[in-house]
Subunit: 395 residues, 2 copies
């Protein structure tokens, strides 16, 4: 009696849930410290202390009727202004509070902008490998996801194939850099080429193609790599940001959309996104957390911690003979499965109490995702297990 659409979603979802359950069973059997759970993108470093201080300061200072009350569905004006100024300072842009819509995390922001833009049958391009939830977000509004196949050389987007897949029905492109699951940062050269191509396609079809940039990992970039700010390269760019990873607040559901003045039908998009926020049932991003993050725009979670994990994991796996690309950002490492069926490899890893996610979940079979937002000890202690897998599969 549940909705038809939900039946298959529940079935697929059960597979992932089964993995969690298995992890719990393993932990109960062998002790949590002997299970190496690399399956989840849940930050293991705590929120910076400024977050706690900001929350307490707000509780002590602000009128509770304001602090916990309704505001404009797009968020508190002072919070949005602080965010606009912070972006301007970092990226030399010229946003105002008008350009910012506070959202229930990046997932909420993506849903708001897709609800705003999509008519049934509209096409949305996703570049494999990509976060599988995009399928559901696009399907929520009866859009059709069109997948660009992975470029397994360096995991930069396959722009030639992308160009071929853009049609008159293409309403949006979703990109995610630093990328989940590869950790790759799309280079400035990539972004410039993509922007030129999209502009040409807009002209060819007489359409607007919105480039939606999903950026929960923007602040997690290593070795000084630059993450291009999309609105500087393409007029129809919309940014979806989240504080989930930068401030280790994934459960708080706090993020924002940036809709620049140059976006086609700017005023309409802005008004519709405001309404979408309300009618999707979010109503507004959580109020206290809006005020708190506005005070922590220069704070950051312990990125060096992830960096050490990254170096240790990457060099360890390379040394054992595994093939993988060095992540430049996020907290994921994408490793080539030594056998074609990566699900079988994930099963084999489980025998060593190592939990990793098949690349199929990201439209990129033959690879596995290792989320290294875990304790350093987990990385170190998992090495013998990986070593055994190397011996078993790489000979």
């Amino acid at each position: 009696m549940i909705a038809d659409k939900m039946v298959s979603l529940v079935k697929n979802s059960s597979a992932i849930r089964a993995m969690f359950e298995e992890g719990k069973i393993l932990a109960a059997k062998y002790g949590a410290e002997n299970v190496y759970d690399f399956s989840l993108g849940n930050p293991n470093v705590p929120a910076p202390v400024q977050v706690k201080e900001a929350i307490i300061e707000e509780l002590n200072k602000e009128d509770p009727v304001v602090l916990h009350g309704y505001m404009n569905n797009s968020g508190y004006e002072d919070v949005r202004d602080a965010i606009a100024q912070s972006i301007n300072k970092k990226f030399d842009t010229a946003f105002t509070e008008k350009n910012i819509i506070m959202t229930v995390g990046a997932a909420g922001g993506l849903n708001v902008i897709l609800k705003t833009l999509l008519n049934p049958g509209d096409e949305v391009i996703a570049i494999a490998p990509y976060f599988g939830e995009y399928n559901s977000y696009v399907s929520n509004y009866d859009g059709k996801i069109v997948v660009v196949s992975p470029n397994t050389v360096d995991f930069q987007p396959n722009l030639e194939e992308m160009e071929q897949k853009i049609t008159a029905k293409t309403k949006a492109v979703i990109i995610n850099s630093p990328n989940n699951p590869t950790g790759v940062v799309y280079s400035e050269a990539t972004i410039m080429k993509m922007a030129d191509m999209l502009r040409a396609k807009q002209k060819e079809f007489g359409t607007d193609i919105y480039l939606i940039s999903d950026e929960p990992y923007r602040e997690l970039a290593y070795d000084g790599v630059e993450v291009p700010y999309l609105t500087k390269y393409y007029e129809n760019a919309i940014i979806g940001y989240s504080f989930s990873k930068s401030l280790s607040l994934p459960g708080e559901r706090i993020g924002y959309l940036v809709i620049s003045n140059e976006v086609a039908d700017f005023e309409d998009v802005l008004a519709a996104a405001n309404v979408a926020t309300r009618i999707l049932g979010y109503v507004n991003a959580p109020s206290l957390m809006q005020k708190a993050v506005a005070k922590c725009l220069d704070a950051q979670a312990d990125v060096p911690y992830y960096d050490r994990n990254r170096e240790t994991l990457y060099s360890g796996l390379k040394e054992m003979g595994f093939e993988c690309i060095k992540p430049e950002g996020a907290f994921y490492l994408f490793m080539k499965s030594p056998i074609a069926d990566e699900k079988e490899f994930c099963q084999a890893a489980k025998k060593h109490n190592i939990l990793i996610v098949p690349g199929s979940s990201f439209a990129c079979p033959g690879y596995v995702r290792i989320a290294y937002c875990v304790s350093y000890e987990t990385i170190v202690n998992s090495m013998p297990g990986f070593k055994a897998l190397a011996e078993e599969f790489l000979g």
Copy 2:
């Protein structure tokens, strides 16, 4: 270039936004204290002090990785358990954490359950007058809202008409008691009759009809009136609760769904609601606020404050000759417009700096909604304006 569905929504929304803007202009012109804004259901009494204490206690005690982290999409097990126990104590039910799904307010909960249940074209019954946002929530999932016309005698649901409007396509009925906009509480007799009728209709059509109870105002009931707990009267009842009004936390977006074991296809509904929470982009209800409300289940906002407003407003308006039903709950008073076109009456009220909402917004023209979640002074000081309106329109 925005979605077709959004165009009309933006247009309609602009009318309400225009009212807020008008209120701001009036406040700037005459001083905020001389503008009587009864348009919004935004609690004016502060959250009870326990909320602040609970938040600070959690911040001091709990590991931030847990406190701000991801949990099961349905919410923290300990929070859900505390809520289940609290409901059991109050209503003599037998829920466990399994029956509770934490949601981004009641609006989030309604969207989750409608996403869970509705196939395109499925019908959802709403009983006028009702909260206009239900139209959008049902339309989000391509459902069709079917309106039962208002019973303006006592604003209990018109069960005869409801019975006629139930078809084989009726998937759900949404009720809201204490009611927005009337303040009426649906009596136990009403609920029992409705439950019997729905059971008969289920049998007639061989279908399941879910009764969704939207209960943000449950705790705001006056004169000791009982608000029946729906799961005790009807097997296929699902409760959507919010702490927005009971704890004055509307901006925090925190509430829950209760899905009882007796609901048809219980396990499927539960699993689908969990998935819907994730894919709609909520992911989970805000984490810190989950922990906080779990400690405040016996706390309450200052209901006697609303009660004094209610008495003063009601007796004042009655004395002037206005026709209205005495609210038993919530913080709304539904008054008959002295002229058929209540929008014209709302315009006339504006001349006295009184902002009220036309009943048309609730599918009940000829009436106006007065939200009395305002300061007592606002009530008292608005009386001369209402008096002038009485003289102008009632002679």
